[in-house]
């Protein structure tokens, strides 16, 4: 159970927070002054501190520095009654987690506290690798003995001690965050903060501000200065999940950060120097995105310095049974189910299922199946429908790199050991685009030119160069070989 320490001389605030976290499973401790708070922090080792900016016996910043000396990774959320509190902003620069402005909105307080506690958990709960000494405290285990997973463990061990950027690649649900945490926890920065940012979960407009901060008045709604994660986490490690979902603008700023460890806040002129290690992750095909111009090639090369590929579950052989056994035991215990085992027909279905959602899907499926189970054995009928239907193992999930005519063309040309793939792929892409649009317009070139934003003359030239015949426009798949021919012998 997590413990939250509130240090605030305003008893109304302490009362309000006690009320907000009643029946939430959190333990709340309170102190009306800094000295009492510091003593409570040393004694009860809280998971989070809510700290008033102005205390009777010490400034909030001094109290914050003492807390940091006690535990550099302890998240601290400042509480201030002023919207322009310099102290809170200074504290953010020094690594405070965030700050709340009075009057407190209890729903927002709860949300922020949950986020901070999750961050604390990511930093604090060790990720245990197989073969490591048994942990004296609860750990998030990384399971698996298959050769490809053993390669992942080795890569973690090799790269963790080095202060380099790491790119973790793998399908959704393969455990990329666990790997990022394992790298952090085994790195020389393990006593410094770790922050995780899911780039796909934050709208483009906000992501830049979230990462780099902003100056007051830099955009509508920027009513005060905000310190971004890169500044806040100086000395620590940032995990950028779903890095392939960043907008080009943020990609550019991230590239500079990786090159120089310098950046400017949104709307600011002052160059900020920081010192963060970046661990990035994505399920996207960054090479394809970089070729298509949606992900900066220079950023891709920077991120790609050390890459860990996490295999999908369907390629992990006997790990499937190992993980099934683990989750079965874990959830049977959690759900208080006296289920002795998995029936052979259910086990066969579970082993043969391709697990497109990987480990995360398996956890959910086993839990759901146990909830459905009434007897002493988990039977096939209790399994989720998609598993009962027995989707073929080769019905692998859609990935960016295994779809559509362009991808097929790329695969074919790679097999043919081409030396002109860039031009070939662009030509095929152009042919695909033009045929799609011409089909949409029923072959009307004027309309197609308008949709494409090019002149009719330019369109005519491209149709000619790519050997697109208007009568064949509706047969999309047939145009690719033509495009391939055209690309193989580009028009002058």
């Amino acid at each position: 159970m997590a413990t939250v320490l509130v240090i605030d001389d305003d008893r109304a605030t302490r009362h309000m927070l006690r009320d907000a976290f009643r029946d939430t499973g959190l333990t709340l401790e309170t102190s009306a002054d800094a000295r009492g708070g510091l003593s409570a922090a040393a004694k009860s080792r809280p998971d989070l501190v809510l700290l008033d900016v102005m205390l009777p016996d010490m400034s909030g910043l001094e109290a914050f520095q003492s807390i940091k000396r006690l535990d550099a990774r302890l998240p601290v959320i400042f509480i201030t009654a002023s919207g322009t509190s310099d102290t809170a902003i200074e504290a953010m620069k020094e690594g405070a987690y965030d700050y709340l402005v009075k009057p407190l909105d209890l729903a927002k307080v709860r949300e922020l506290v949950q986020q901070a506690l999750e961050m604390r958990r990511l930093m604090h709960v060790p990720v245990s690798l197989p073969g490591a000494a048994a942990e004296s405290q609860p750990a998030d285990p990384m399971l698996g003995r298959s050769p490809r997973v053993l390669e992942v463990y080795k890569a973690i061990g090799r790269v963790a001690p080095q202060d380099v950027t790491v790119l973790i690649r793998g399908e959704s649900g393969t455990g990329k965050e666990l790997i990022a945490r394992a790298i952090y926890q085994h790195s020389p920065r393990s006593d410094k903060p770790f922050l995780a940012v899911n780039c796909a979960a934050i709208p483009d407009a906000l992501l830049e501000s979230e990462l780099f901060g902003h100056e007051k008045g830099s955009f509508t709604g920027a009513d005060r200065q905000r310190i971004g994660k890169f500044e806040q986490c100086s000395g620590g490690t940032i995990f950028l999940d779903e890095v392939g979902d960043m907008s080009p603008l943020v990609q550019g700023k991230l590239l500079r950060l990786l090159q120089e460890q310098r950046f400017e806040r949104v709307g600011g002129n002052q160059t900020i120097q920081t010192d963060v290690r970046i661990i990035a992750a994505t399920h996207r095909d960054l090479e394809a995105m970089s070729n298509a111009g949606t992900f900066r090639a220079d950023l891709y090369y920077r991120l790609n310095g050390f890459t860990i590929i996490v295999p999908p579950l369907r390629e992990r052989g006997d790990d499937i049974v190992l993980l099934l056994e683990r989750f079965f035991a874990q959830f049977a215990r959690q759900l208080n189910k006296d289920v002795q085992g998995i029936a052979p027909d259910a086990l066969k279905l579970l082993v043969e299922y391709p697990w497109p959602g990987n480990v995360r899907e398996m956890q959910s499926a086993v839990r759901r199946a146990l909830l459905q189970t009434t007897g002493s054995v988990l039977v096939a009928d209790a399994l989720p429908e998609e598993i009962r239907q027995g989707v073929r193992r080769d019905a692998a999930p859609a990935t960016d790199a295994a779809q559509g005519p362009i991808e097929r063309l790329i695969d074919e040309r790679l097999r043919a050991e081409t030396r002109d793939l860039y031009a070939e792929a662009l030509g095929a892409m152009e042919a695909l685009l033009l045929t799609r649009v011409l089909r949409q317009t029923g072959g009307n070139q004027s309309q197609a030119a308008r949709i494409l934003g090019i002149t009719r003359g330019s369109l005519r030239n491209k149709i000619h160069a790519l050997n697109i015949h208007i009568e064949s426009v509706i047969h999309l798949e047939d145009t690719i070989p033509e495009a391939e021919e055209a690309a193989a012998a580009p028009a002058p």
Partner: protein, 117 residues
């Protein structure tokens, strides 16, 4: 046209507390109990020209009244915070008087409004 600062806005305050009326009433109780002592500290600090103490007491009062969106009282507290920080003693007496009046009005209005909830 500039609007007069509000004495309080309990519907906004209640929304922030998730509609918890007993909690709002208990916050009003804290204000009722703590404001007189803080006001005495303000007066004494202004008399003794103790800027730090004036700033601290005004800050504490602001923290209490802000829970009710009491713009007038919070504004008065903020002005006193500045007076304390800058040592602007020429405005201290007037500032304390303004604070006292704002607190009295807020107390009356809170009593009426809370009785309706």
């Amino acid at each position: 046209m500039k609007q007069e600062p509000k004495t309080c806005n309990l519907s906004a305050a209640l929304a922030r507390l998730g509609g918890n009326v007993p909690l709002l009433k208990s916050l009003a109780g804290f204000l009722d109990e703590d404001a007189p002592g803080l006001l005495r500290r303000l007066k004494s600090a202004a008399e003794q020209r103790d800027g730090d103490e004036l700033h601290r007491a005004a800050h504490s009062l602001k923290g209490l009244v802000i829970n009710f969106d009491a713009e007038r009282a919070a504004g008065a507290a903020e002005r006193l915070e500045r007076i304390g920080s800058l040592g602007d003693w020429g405005h201290a007496e007037e500032g304390v008087r303004e604070m006292e009046e704002a607190l009295a009005t807020l107390g009356q209005e809170l009593k009426m409004e809370l009785a309706r909830l």
